[in-house]
Symmetry: C2
Subunit: 222 residues, 2 copies
């Protein structure tokens, strides 16, 4: 069975978990303290980052974008990137938006400061960074709302990797209770639809030792 | 004719320029002071980043990864990502290595500090960041050497987007004279092969106002 090396609040690992779920691929999770840079893990991925997907006895696959493209190419029945080249470019633009811009502006500020620093023993959270992350979040929730008022899903008619990337990042921030959903109805409606997908269930049942999510985190009717 | 909105020392813009060259696509360059966030440019790309590719009267294409995948799908004669899914995953892993890790550890520290801060009027260069970038560069040049001692090109037998991404970043740092090539013979040999490709010529003829590159920058026999 394929093994996904991951960390709970890593949005990139979460993205791959949902893609595996959408593709109906059974897999095992292996929890990785990637920041300890063990020789075993660096042999899997010299970049020292999760996620890494190891298929039976084959060369490990690293980098979440590379893994998602690979899974979509190998399992084309339910395409997650789109059909024609222009639609695929739009999906990928939005994936990059969340994996790049949202990550830099929100996830890193909120999740790294509140949680990862503790795990990595890198000192105290920087409250100015957390506040900046929370402020930036508003703008991204508005963008999600703007898109879903014009399209069925973020990138167009169909559920895609863009929705998965956006929800993977948001789910990390939501685990920490940092999303005031009631102020962003359109984004909330979209997130409720993502949450209700079977592929998302395993993320909602995550329980990180010593860190309890707010009640609404796993609630489909939040 | 397609228009590529770019900035000279943006490695992501350079990557797209080389891909367009490899695909024999004629295009015009439009220089963009993206940090000024003009309304016209934000209408092209709400992320406010270069590169953006505008094909005749069509929706603008943003994000360098999305653009490169699009160009490769639309012009499949000379594939730049690879043939089978595993080879494509390896190319994309390495593209992410350079666009993510190299950018964070080297390009951002060296190019942003030395040049972009001046353009953006964001104060003085941080010499500690520049030194860190220069030190990190050694490790990446060794990795390029390690790969090319085992493979013809970075991702395998064929010249690929991995070589283009790596060379795009390196060319920015090299423009500032920060690569001590003589200490990294294998990486130098590989870079000489990339430099000699016709697709790379336009990068080598760049001359940024007020910033002259070292003599070896455009020299194919450096």
């Amino acid at each position: 069975m394929p093994v996904l090396h991951h960390f709970w609040l890593c949005p990139f690992s979460r993205k791959v978990r949902v893609v595996l779920g959408e593709k109906d691929i059974r897999f095992e999770l292996a929890f990785e303290k990637y920041w300890e840079r063990s020789a075993e893990f660096l042999a899997l991925n010299p970049a020292g980052q999760v996620p890494v997907l190891v298929e039976d006895d084959d060369v490990p696959l690293a980098d979440s974008a590379a893994i998602c493209e690979y899974l979509d190419e190998r399992n084309p029945d339910r395409p997650l990137i789109g059909f024609d080249a222009r639609a695929r470019a739009e999906t990928r633009r939005l994936v990059a938006w969340f994996d790049g811009k949202f990550f830099e502006e929100v996830t890193r500020n909120v999740v790294d400061e509140k949680v990862m620093k503790r795990f990595m023993r890198m000192g105290h959270p920087d409250s100015a960074a957390i506040r900046a992350g929370q402020q930036n979040l508003a703008y991204h929730l508005e963008y999600i709302g703007w898109l879903t008022e014009r399209r069925n899903w973020l990138a167009g008619d169909d559920f895609s990797l863009a929705d998965i990337a956006a929800a993977a990042h948001l789910s990390c921030v939501d685990y920490l209770g940092d999303v005031s959903w009631s102020d962003y109805q359109a984004a909330k409606d979209w997130y409720a639809r993502v949450k209700s997908r079977p592929s998302f269930r395993s993320l909602l049942s995550d329980h990180i030792p010593g860190l309890t999510p707010p009640k609404h985190y796993a609630d489909l009717d939040f």
